[in-house]
């Protein structure tokens, strides 16, 4: 549509030479800054923890910049191999992986520990986008079925670890691709009906007890106030007691006095809500919303189906992170172990997230003229 010079003009210097997106970059930096501040509070002013988080952010940032340099076409070529490698490693994890927090998630290569499931957060949408973009959209029913298998196999392997949070996320990422590719409404509705029908089966045969507990305590946290319900009770107390204006940075009693569990990882949003109140919460949600909007905008501006589907899926997956985490912390949905993106303490998921942003930036900054 637009000619080359126009696109060139609309690209800033940063976009052109570093293949980075200024708006996304600003939002990410802002979010990381807020994250560090709240982590400082949530960790009881532990400078060492802050430094570790800063190192992770830096590593993840470098990863993002590196991936942003890779053109989407190259990414598209690598896709089947990345997916295959991810599958192999998922199998390996189940065979020789190391345990952490009651689940088998880690794979060690010498000093480097690695969660293959994290890779799958990118590999699945890439694979599905790769597959569906080989034919014109919308996909046929058989294509959709193949895509579903591509999603289901790694998801099943991840559930076996077990890691419910990541499973939810990768499934969502894959399904978003299918949805964005133009899945027909009647198929979509039919699938939804099938899922609803499958829930009892899922509940009875596939869910672990602790997962069932989480669901049950969601509906009635008081049934286990010192166990599984404790998290939700304490985090809703933290959020609610924050009120409109919050108790002030470093002054949240729920978090500073350690009533709030997992306050620097999965429940860090409760710390934020307690200390900054509804005013802070709305601003934070708007910031997240901006990032998602930017991701979807980039997807819409993308010039090929693979880039489009992948970018759209990654943006929506980022939203799933936010929704699941905030929904869980505020007691809206069951406790599913997902971090609050760019704010929670922790390494692996941050690298994956930033890599996703790298892909978005790559998609946006490698656009070319139609005619060329």
């Amino acid at each position: 549509m637009a000619d080359a010079s126009l696109i060139e003009q609309r690209m800033t210097r940063v976009q052109r030479h570093l293949h980075l997106d200024g708006q996304l970059l600003t939002a990410i930096a802002l979010l990381s800054g807020v994250g560090l501040a709240i982590l400082y509070s949530a960790s009881n002013q532990d400078m060492a923890e802050l430094q570790r988080q800063l190192v992770r952010l830096s590593v993840a940032f470098v990863g993002m910049v590196a991936i942003a340099q890779v053109p989407p076409k190259t990414l598209q070529r690598w896709t089947p191999w990345v997916f295959l490698a991810g599958l192999v490693m998922l199998v390996l994890v189940l065979l020789v992986g190391t345990y952490g927090k009651g689940a088998q998630r880690w794979l060690g290569f010498g000093p480097i520990r690695f969660q293959p499931a994290e890779l799958m957060k990118l590999a699945i949408p890439m694979m599905v986008a790769w597959y569906l973009s080989r034919r014109p959209l919308p996909p046929s029913l058989s294509q959709v079925l193949v895509a579903l298998v591509m999603i289901a196999v790694p998801t099943a392997l991840i559930i076996m670890q077990p890691d419910l949070g990541t499973a939810v996320l990768v499934t969502a990422a894959g399904l978003f691709v299918v949805f964005l590719a133009g899945l027909r409404w009647r198929v979509l509705l039919g699938a939804l009906a099938a899922i609803l029908a499958a829930i009892p089966v899922f509940w009875m045969f596939l869910m672990h007890d602790y997962q069932k507990q989480r669901v049950l305590t969601l509906f009635d946290p008081e049934r286990d106030p010192l166990g599984a319900g404790y998290h939700i009770i304490q985090s809703t107390i933290a959020i609610g007691s924050g009120g409109v204006y919050g108790k002030g940075w470093l002054n949240g009693t729920q978090s500073q006095l350690q009533f709030l569990p997992e306050r620097n990882t999965d429940f860090i949003f409760a710390v934020f809500s307690e200390e900054f109140g509804l005013v802070g919460v709305v601003q934070l949600l708007v910031l997240y919303l901006f990032i998602i909007w930017r991701g979807l905008y980039i997807a819409c501006q993308a010039q090929d189906n693979f880039s489009r589907l992948l970018a759209g899926s990654l943006a929506l997956t980022f939203f799933v992170y936010v929704f699941v985490n905030v929904g869980m912390v505020s007691g809206l949905i069951p406790v599913v172990g997902l971090p609050l993106p760019l704010i929670s303490y922790g390494g692996t998921s941050m690298v994956t997230l930033m890599a996703a942003f790298g892909i978005l930036m790559s998609v946006h900054t490698h656009r070319r003229m139609w005619s060329s």
Binding site: A181, V244, T253
Partner: protein, 641 residues
């Protein structure tokens, strides 16, 4: 070319359509995102606006803890302000396991500079299992100053170990007056049930005996409370506000420490008791029970061996003989019986009874012996008091009969508690027909009336009772119940109040004053008279004493056996007693002395009583207190009945 171009056009059209399709879907997804974000926002608004009040309250309840602040216990003084019980900082070695890098090494290191008992370590480890890691656990109580100094110089070597000072009860005079003061100890299960938990919040100790127990309500005070901020583990972060405790009230006992000390010294190593009362107001001036123990042992929890040793000690140091020791009054009862005789017109004072050395009842072959086997001859009332003739009192008792005698003696307070309120006081036994039927299920015999008349048989009195009855006698039938507390001083507002004596009780009304005078004259004569059983205390006596010796049989002699002190094991020898009041014309003090297995009332007990009275005489006049003579062993000149 054309077809290729057409394909290209188709492809281009497809691409435009695909882009449109994608954009539609993306917008749809964006709308979904917006909706769900709105849901999150709504949820947050719900929690933070409408739920705020509720959750703010819950968060407050989470963080605020109430920490009790125990009050300082009131001090115990004697009547002149001498401190008998106080609170002093004692030092204990506390360990906070969380802060100790290597517990074993630390304990070993501490053991090298401060002596740690095996029991200390065991208790420490037991407590460590139960407590949170950041709570300080006592490793050793009552460090002495040397330990504290040594630890202070080595402190840097032991992170997580500190010396804590806290106030503990200390009895600076040690065993002095221990049976009057009593002691405190850790609150036990039963006491926990009984006490008002809000008053005792945080308190660990409670009065266990003596004044500490009797005046617990005054001494303890009221616990305060501190609101503190605590974290989820219960660790206190900072204080928020404080409601100060109400300190205990200081108590001034009626005991005169100087007199008490004299009484303790004169009793020496004898087992027994001395009680001195102010006859004018019932003040307990001295309350001695021997042997004694160190009350400081009980404050921090006595160890098992020491406690068992105290319990098993045959001399029973823990036993308060003054209030709980029940002894036959022996001849000390005779003045009371004599007054009963006069007042009931059984005999006139001048009327004589012949004492052949024994007494018989018509139709009974048994001979009730006088202690003087060869007999006293003709005895009037005064003679019989002076020489303590048993036969005279057998006759009086027989003629009075048990019912009248019991009623009259009951008027002096025999057979019931004196009303002193001292914990654990026993009532003694004033035998009667009813008592015997209830206690023994038997009917009364005449012979028992006779021996009741000389204070033997079932008759039992406590030293306190004997001193009190003597005060009643001194006051011609009325007296204030004995009391241990004289004054209180509140620590919250400094208010001092002198407590009025207990309400005076009229025990009986004299029918004829001269009867009383004749009995008192007889008691005086038992000291001043050349044949008096207590004449040994007469030399140098500057005031008149009305007294009566007594010897209480521990061991029953057969009909014709002769009492031979040397042939009888010490613990079966007679108890020596003496009761008296002075000055005889204006009574101010009454004294009762019981010396277990002392043998002779006149030889052993009476001199002790005299020294106590001498001391009081000097104290009242502000004169130097005469040094007491050491108690004399068995030099009984006379064996009185």
């Amino acid at each position: 070319m054309a077809s290729k171009k057409g394909q290209g056009d188709n492809r281009l059209r497809d691409q435009i359509q695909e882009k449109r399709l994608f954009t539609r879907r993306a917008v749809l997804a964006g709308a979904g995102v917006l909706g769900l974000m709105g849901l999150l926002g709504g949820r947050m608004a719900h929690l933070q606006i409408s739920g705020h009040q509720h959750y703010a309250t819950m968060s407050q309840a989470n963080r605020v803890r109430l920490v009790p602040v125990p009050p300082n216990r009131g001090l115990i003084h004697d009547r002149n302000g001498v401190i008998l019980a106080e609170n002093r900082p004692t030092y204990q070695l506390m360990v906070i396991p969380e802060q100790v890098p290597d517990l074993e090494e630390t304990l070993a290191g501490l053991g090298a500079i401060i002596e740690l008992e095996e029991s200390d370590l065991t208790r420490f480890h037991n407590q460590r299992q139960r407590q949170r890691r950041f709570d300080a656990i006592p490793l050793k109580f009552r460090l002495d100053e040397r330990d504290v100094a040594i630890f202070a110089t080595n402190r840097h070597r032991f992170p997580g170990v500190e010396v804590e000072a806290r106030l503990s009860r200390v009895y600076p005079q040690g065993e002095h007056a221990v049976h009057a003061i009593g002691h405190v100890g850790r609150i036990n299960e039963q006491e926990l049930q009984r006490i008002d938990s809000s008053r005792y919040r945080g308190s660990t100790h409670i009065g266990k005996s003596g004044a500490e127990l009797q005046f617990e309500d005054l001494l303890h005070g009221h616990s305060g409370i501190e609101r503190v901020e605590a974290n989820a583990l219960g660790r206190v972060i900072r204080p928020l506000e404080r409601l100060d405790p109400n300190p205990g009230t200081d108590v001034y006992l009626t005991i005169d420490s100087r007199l008490q000390r004299i009484a303790e010294e004169v009793l020496g190593d004898w087992q027994g008791s001395i009680v001195a009362l102010d006859t004018r107001n019932g003040d307990i001036l001295a309350l001695v029970s021997k042997p004694t123990f160190d009350p400081n042992l009980f404050v921090h929890g006595i160890d098992r061996e020491t406690f068992q040793a105290l319990q098993a000690d045959p001399s029973r140091p823990l036993y308060n003989r003054a209030m709980r020791g029940q002894y036959p009054p022996g001849s000390t009862i005779k003045p009371f019986v004599a007054l009963a005789s006069l007042e009931n017109e059984i005999k006139r004072a001048s009327e004589r009874v012949f004492c052949p050395g024994f007494y018989t009842l018509p139709g009974v072959s048994h001979r009730w012996r006088c202690w003087q086997r060869r007999g006293h001859g003709h005895m009037n009332m005064e003679d019989s008091l002076v020489q303590s003739c048993d036969v005279y009192f057998y006759d009086v008792a027989y003629r009075l009969g048990i019912d009248r005698m019991q009623e009259y003696l009951g008027g002096f307070g025999f057979g019931r508690r004196t009303g002193s309120g001292v914990p654990g006081e026993l009532p003694g036994v004033l035998p009667s027909r009813e008592w015997k039927r209830a206690a023994r299920g038997e009917s009364w015999y005449h012979g028992e009336t006779l021996i009741t008349g000389i204070g033997q048989g079932f008759f039992l009195t406590t030293p306190m009772q004997l001193a009190h009855a003597t005060a009643v006698l001194a006051n011609k039938g009325s007296a204030h119940p004995p009391r241990l507390i004289k004054r209180i001083e509140r620590n919250d507002n400094g208010e001092v109040s002198d407590l009025p004596p207990e309400e005076k009780e009229t025990h009986f009304k004299l029918r004829d004053e001269s009867n009383w005078q004749q009995v008192v004259d007889g008691m005086i004569a038992s000291i001043r008279g050349p044949r008096g059983t207590a004449r040994s205390i007469a030399p140098g006596l500057e005031y008149e004493v009305a007294g009566k010796t007594g010897t209480a049989q521990v061991f029953s002699l057969g009909q014709d056996e002769k009492y031979d002190a040397d042939a009888i094991p010490v613990h079966l020898r007679d108890h020596a007693l003496f009761n008296c009041f002075a000055p005889a014309d204006d009574p101010r003090i009454s004294v009762a002395v019981v010396v277990e297995n002392g043998g002779s009332g006149g030889g052993v007990a009476a001199p002790m009583a005299r020294q106590v009275m001498d001391a009081w005489h000097a104290i009242e006049r502000g004169q130097p207190i005469p040094r007491p003579d050491p108690p004399e062993e068995d030099d009984a000149e006379t064996a009185d009945g």
